[in-house]
């Protein structure tokens, strides 16, 4: 493909998944906010994990889609982005 080719990555598949994630996280977060007892806190943890993980999963999904398009420059850029985040988590863990 050339630089003038319109990318096939349109977000048509990603959109419904994001919408479902939003609804599930919203319900779980509502429960998590209600009480500090264990089941409610667990629901809250899942909600926080969902909204924290969703942007990173979107980047992972982009790497897969751009690999299909053989757009290597952006595959490596996105992989480097995830790498920086992974290294940061490791540094935070070690630096505690």
């Amino acid at each position: 493909m050339t630089a003038n080719t319109v990318s096939r990555v349109t977000g048509r598949r990603q959109g419904p998944i994001l919408r479902a994630t939003t609804r599930i996280a919203w319900v779980l977060a509502g429960l998590g906010a209600l009480s500090e007892s264990q089941p409610f806190l667990t629901a809250g943890v899942i909600a926080v994990v969902l909204v924290t993980a969703a942007p990173l999963l979107r980047v992972t999904w982009l790497i897969l889609r751009w690999t299909q398009e053989r757009d290597w420059r952006f595959v490596w850029t996105a992989a480097a982005l995830l790498g920086v985040i992974f290294v940061a988590g490791f540094i935070a863990l070690v630096a505690q």
């Binding site: 630089a3 349109t10 977060a29 998590g32 909204v51 982005l81 920086v84 985040i85 988590g89 935070a92």
Partner: protein, 273 residues
């Protein structure tokens, strides 16, 4: 429990307003939390959670409008995330007083940049149709639906734009206020990406920055789950409503009103310190 209700209300309102202006809600939420009695250290992770939730909530609608350029987002985000991680790692070393002044400065800068931002730079091009809408493979360019037609764009001054993204990430990681108020104007005014594409792409990228910094905060045990849940609950609702309203209102009017609110917050922060 009253804290929880306050957090839900503040998160919903600020995420809604943030999504409207394409600035991210944390730039209002974090100062508002400090005014309500939270320490800047405690307010920072809550601000980041609000950003991540607002980004997820607005994402589906912005994808359906095809206004997000993922290639620009990922490229600029590499610089911003590096800045955010450094900010989160050194945030513990700053005093609360320093963070209050930093937040007030950030709010004033956001007010200035949001207020002066202009509207349309890329007019629709005759001959371009809906089949041309989207990102271009291998480049930081694309086309998007605009004002009854299709407008194309190409990114300019990438190195300067990336420098601004690093600063935006540093501010986000240190204070918890999303760097959207720097990223959106930098993408639009420096890199010459249309305002709507810049705002949607920034909404995508500030979620990544927030996630990166949140992982650091979580590993350091600085997340209160009940308060975080309240912020997620409010922000998801506010972000979704804000994204719907954003597509119906003229963004210049919204940004000017937002600028006034930000100036008031900056003044209150310093006065009530």
């Amino acid at each position: 429990m009253s804290d929880v209700f306050l957090l839900v209300g503040l998160a919903a309102a600020t995420s809604g307003i943030g999504a409207l202006g394409g600035l991210g809600g944390a730039v209002i939420l974090v100062p508002a939390l400090v005014l309500a009695g939270w320490s800047p250290m405690d307010a920072a992770p809550l601000g980041l959670i609000s950003v991540a939730a607002g980004s997820v909530a607005a994402g589906a609608r912005q994808l359906s409008e095809r206004s997000v350029n993922h290639r620009i987002g990922v490229t600029t985000e590499l610089a911003a995330t590096a800045g955010a991680v450094v900010g989160a790692l050194v945030a513990d070393r700053f005093s609360d007083e320093f963070l209050v002044y930093l937040l007030a400065s950030v709010a004033l800068a956001a007010a200035f940049m949001g207020g002066r931002r202009k509207g349309l730079r890329n007019p629709p091009i005759p001959g371009l149709g809906m089949e041309d809408v989207g990102e271009r493979v291998g480049s930081l360019s694309g086309a998007y639906p605009a004002h009854g037609g299709v407008a194309s764009y190409e990114t300019r001054r990438l190195p300067l734009g990336l420098a601004f993204m690093s600063v935006a990430g540093l501010v986000a990681g240190t204070t918890g206020a999303s760097g959207g108020f720097i990223k959106t104007p930098a993408t639009s005014e420096i890199m010459h990406v249309p305002t709507k594409v810049a705002a949607s792409t920034t909404t995508f990228t500030i979620g990544i920055t927030a996630s990166a910094a949140l992982i650091v905060f979580a590993l350091r045990g600085r997340l209160d789950i009940q308060q975080s849940s309240a912020v997620v609950f409010g922000s998801l609702a506010g972000g979704a409503i804000g994204a719907i309203v954003q597509s119906r209102l003229h963004p210049v009017h919204v940004r000017r009103a937002l600028s006034v609110v930000l100036v008031l917050i900056a003044i209150l922060l310093v006065i009530t310190r």
